[in-house]
């Protein structure tokens, strides 16, 4: 782990005399490398390490008996703060019905997460409705239909081929069904697909969702910043959900996305089953990134 690595480096250095400022600066290389190996974006890692170095130089690191451990503690605290501090339940503002719009790249876990959020809020006493707005992927509508049925949540399936129209129709229908939470599942798309991004803008403009959740796969690498910036520029999303955290990817993409968009991570997908969702814990991800 990074902690072990830094400890052994400083042990050697201390054996040679007092820890110097240069020693601390040099140790930043190991921190940067650990972050890159954890998939933190190149520029984000550089900026982050600079922050850490400023902190480390201003503290008792040089006089500490365990300088390596102290530096790692500083890194962990900085990471946790950047990732959102203490995990917090967030609540919807304004009157019902509240709307959540799921967006993101292909295969990131939007459809599954839509169902997970529906169950999560149903357990909290809300009356959710799922909206199948992916008309492109083969059997996408069927997939959401099956998931909705398994948790007794109604799934709106329009007879239109146009996702914008489907979402409009769904909102009208939700009033009849007295649903107080509408979750729009949209098709996966590339941030460089202008037409598909335009479609999302149209849906967001018409529905004015309370929350637009950018769904990101926890195993995403350096490209995370590109898609996050593009989706944020176009949609000004309100939050991020991180999926497949039940794997062993370090999850550095989450730090990158937070650093470049400033938007909070709200939920974590921790499995394939519909109940495998939890509130995001920044400190847990910080430990995971550090390895």
């Amino acid at each position: 782990t990074l902690s072990d690595r830094l400890e052994s480096i400083f042990k050697t250095l201390r054996g040679q005399g007092k820890i110097t400022e240069q020693n601390i600066k040099d140790s930043m290389r190991d921190i940067r490398r650990a972050l890159l190996e954890a998939d933190v974006n190149y520029k984000v890692a550089k900026d982050f390490v600079q922050k850490v170095m400023d902190r480390a130089l201003g503290t008792e690191v040089q006089n500490s008996i365990t300088p390596g451990q102290l530096i790692v503690k500083i890194v962990h605290n900085e990471l946790t703060a950047l990732l959102g501090g203490t995990s917090s339940e967030f609540s919807f503002i304004g009157p019902a019905p509240h709307k959540i719009m799921m967006v993101g790249l292909q295969g990131s876990g939007k459809t599954t997460m839509s169902a997970k959020l529906a169950l999560y809020y149903r357990k909290k006493g809300k009356r959710p409705m799922l909206v199948a707005a992916d008309v492109y992927r083969p059997a996408a509508i069927k997939q959401l239909e099956i998931l909705g049925k398994s948790i007794q949540v109604p799934v709106f399936i329009g007879d239109q081929k146009n996702p914008v129209a489907i979402c409009r129709e769904a909102t009208g229908q939700s009033e009849k069904e007295a649903c107080d939470l509408i979750i729009f599942d949209t098709a996966g798309r590339l941030h460089v697909d202008a037409e598909m991004m335009r479609e999302l803008e149209k849906i967001a403009a018409a529905e004015k969702p309370n929350e637009i959740f950018f769904t990101a796969d926890a195993m995403t690498g350096q490209d995370a910043v590109n898609s996050a910036i593009a989706f944020n520029d176009r949609l000004n999303f309100t939050g991020v959900v991180l999926t497949k955290l039940d794997g062993d990817s370090r999850g550095g993409a989450a730090l990158s996305i937070l650093a470049v968009t400033g938007k909070p991570v709200r939920f974590a997908g921790i499995g394939e089953k519909i109940d495998q969702i939890e509130l995001f814990h920044p400190d847990r991800l910080a430990s995971r990134i550090l390895g």
Binding site: R33, L36, E37, A38, D39, N41, Y42, L105, Q106, G107, S108, G109, Y136, R137, P138, A139, A140, K142, Q143, E145, I146, L147, S150, L190, H191, V192, D217, M219, T220, G221, Q222, D223, A224, N226, S227, K244, D246, G247, D248, S249, R250, G252, A253, E272
Partner: protein
């Protein structure tokens, strides 16, 4: 990137950044930078304009195994050949199978059979059914929740009896950290080989092109239970570069067979190492 200056640390830093942001990984980026430094020291690289060419040559030289040397399929009439398609959740397996069916039917004139061995995920069988209809090939399926190995077995029997050239098996996405799911995959492969010990089974690991360093972990684990023969890297029509294949090649010598460039049946390109390296510096 434009290189209109002398080769100095600043230039090498820019190259390091380009490599790392392509998901090549720190170790390989450092290795390539060291090679460039050595060339400069030996005076074999002087002009900064030449550095890009030198880098491309180094990338090709370090990883020749990336380009599949033998044919992708058994050409000696050893039919049916089997493509076992595996990978983590959402990487693009089912879509890739649709594209492979299109490719082998239309470009290679093969008789293809598909097997829907993802019996777990909602509408997985329906999804593959659409692809079978789209590309005009038969599909063997079981019931949702059924045993995938049993479906695989039935599909192999059907492929043998009906004289198919190629059987392509779709499996459920699975994280390589889930031991029971990885064992299920091992069992699928064993069932096929038990039925016909000399069966040509080419295991294709489908990797999402946006994946970071975790791809190496995935490749190691999937290789451990199903002997990965080749990679397909999907979603390279986005901005991701797919640089993780270099580490996988270095560690496991697994070649890349195809890259996925979109969501339609024709969006599959046979891998070319020079073209792939070119794409890094676009």
């Amino acid at each position: 990137i434009t290189f209109r200056k002398r080769i100095d640390d600043n230039l090498l830093d820019k190259i390091e950044e380009a490599l790392i942001t392509s998901d090549v990984g720190v170790e390989i980026a450092v290795q390539l930078i060291e090679r460039l430094k050595a060339l400069v020291a030996e005076n074999r690289l002087v002009e900064s304009d030449a550095i890009l060419e030198a880098l491309k040559n180094e990338m090709a030289a370090l990883f020749p195994a990336l380009q599949e040397k033998e044919g992708f399929l058994p050409e000696n009439g050893r039919v049916p050949g089997v493509l076992l398609v595996v990978g983590v959740n959402g990487s693009g397996k089912t879509t890739t199978i649709g594209k492979l069916a299109r490719y082998f039917i239309r470009e290679r004139g093969k008789k293809v059979l598909l097997a829907a061995c993802d019996t777990f995920r909602a509408a997985a069988i329906e999804q593959l059914t659409v692809w079978a209809e789209r590309t005009g090939c038969e599909l063997i399926k079981g019931v949702p929740g059924g045993d995938p190995a049993a479906v695989a077995f039935d599909a192999l029997v059907a492929a043998i009896n009906r004289g198919h050239d190629l059987l392509i098996i779709d499996t459920a996405g699975r994280l390589h950290t889930k031991v029971n799911l990885m064992e299920e995959l091992r069992k699928i492969r064993q069932v096929l080989l038990k039925k016909r010990p000399d069966l040509f089974v080419h295991t294709l690991l489908v990797l999402d092109g946006t994946t970071g360093q975790n791809a190496l972990m995935q490749a190691r684990e999937f290789n451990g239970v199903s002997d990965v023969s080749g990679l397909v890297v999907t979603k390279l029509d986005g901005t991701a570069k797919g640089g993780i294949v270099f580490s996988i090649c270095k560690d496991l010598s697994i070649p890349v067979d195809f890259i996925g460039t979109g969501e339609g049946p024709d969006d599959l390109v046979p891998f070319s190492l020079p073209a792939f390296i070119e794409s890094f510096f676009k």
